[in-house]
Symmetry: C2
Subunit: 264 residues, 2 copies
């Protein structure tokens, strides 16, 4: 029985600044069906409030508690571990890190810094790591679909570079970290086996969700999707569909068939 | 029987702009002993002529044919494979890539670009790779000892970043590529089993040389060496010694004991 839905944002709900066609209506149908929804994004170029504002502009109001971002998870992590952040993130994301003065040491926090990924910043982060700082990655994504429609380097390659140089493994807080999926599900009281994840990243969204124990994960052919992605990572998607509207059709149809099946 | 010696440069012969104490005399002793020597460097921030000029200034004249650099190997590779270079290298190294017009396509060439490793340059290289360009790394070194005495990011982390993003493996041309060691040995007609490599990088110099079939590899405690390096990579060094002078002492003593042993 499907009883909760997790939605990726970039490449699923919007593409650049525009909504993916049918996305607003599709989310409205989910809400009308009474299915709880959470939005779970690895995008780390914008602060949380800017993401909420963008969704609002698209006619898709989302509350603060419905949106899960890696920066929010990182602030929780920093507080729990009493660390100050050494930020290697996009300048716009810095505002999401505040009130973190209580500190027993540093943690290097790597997000998708974009143009801020330059040699001095990367080298400073490397030096902090070999001096003993903790190592936290907001997201391990390889690529994202850039404003020009082409793929560009996401945070993952830079996390990997620092891992290789420091010979240490980063703690990943965004997708595909199981805790990230599970905290979103916990907030709507949805058991993982009854949840569906919808994303355009076959690796972090889909394979990540299934590895975390979610019952289903749908891959959409929008955003960064490239033909063959459904076969590139394991576990493979439960289904691959054209877009968010088709994904919601799939969920509605699956729930209907579940409802009409006799209980065993 | 030792019949040839390969010497790393940065961290072994010189440290920054100054010679490692005893280095000039040590190389002179090798030459006096009639042992052929080749210099084999993964440094890719300077063109070959600048390296030769620097050695000359230190009172250590080396001929063009005695110095092996990854850029030289890359030019050979580009000619053999009829590719034009898409360079992601230090601006000073560009002059080592010329007369390469004959082309059946591109090859991304990654060296230690230093400050030229910025987001746009890395992203352009990534896009060339996913568009089908060949992928060549001059060197996979993790770190080097920088002018301020601290470790800094070398080319390897950036090669790894591009490998992770493109999901492809780079062809490595510098150390520890066996062909790089073997071409230097071939130029002095020295069988690998009779060769000694001396370096400060336990991974690319020492483990790399031994994996390529060299008989011995000595790790020096100068340059980028950090305590424990001798145990960090496999195979471990034949011996770990204080510096180049101690390494030459080791070679002279080993040859003497070999010469006095009865033939079996």
């Amino acid at each position: 029985m499907i009883s909760g839905v997790l939605l990726d944002l970039a490449g699923v709900i919007y593409d650049g600044k525009a909504a993916v066609p049918g996305a607003t209506g599709a989310v409205a149908r989910l809400r009308e069906a009474g299915l709880p929804v959470r939005f779970i994004s690895n995008t780390t170029r914008s602060p949380k409030q800017a993401v909420l504002d963008q969704l609002d502009k698209l006619g898709l109001p989302v509350t603060d508690g419905e949106l899960f971002t890696p920066a929010h998870a990182a602030c929780e992590w920093l507080r729990q571990h009493h660390r100050s952040p050494h930020l290697l993130v996009h300048p716009d994301l810095v505002r999401d890190f505040h009130d973190l003065a209580d500190s027993e040491g540093l943690a290097v926090i790597v997000g998708d810094a974009g143009e801020a990924f330059d040699y001095p910043a990367l080298n400073n982060a490397f030096r902090a790591l070999i001096a003993g700082a903790e190592f936290v990655a907001l997201a391990p994504n390889r690529t994202f679909k850039d404003a020009d429609g082409k793929l560009s380097l996401d945070a993952g390659p830079f996390v990997t570079a620092l891992e290789f140089a420091s010979q240490r493994d980063a703690i990943v807080l965004g997708k595909p970290a199981p805790a990230f999926f599970l905290s979103a599900l916990a907030s709507m009281n949805c058991p993982p086996s009854q949840a569906v994840m919808i994303g355009d990243d076959a690796e972090t969204d889909v394979a990540g969700a299934l590895a975390a124990g979610l019952g289903q994960a749908l891959l959409v052919r929008t955003g960064k999707y490239r033909p063959g992605d459904e076969d590139r990572f394991k576990p493979p998607p439960t289904a691959t569909v054209d877009d968010i509207a088709a994904a919601i059709d799939w969920i509605v149809a699956t729930r209907r068939s579940e409802a009409t099946q006799p209980l065993l």
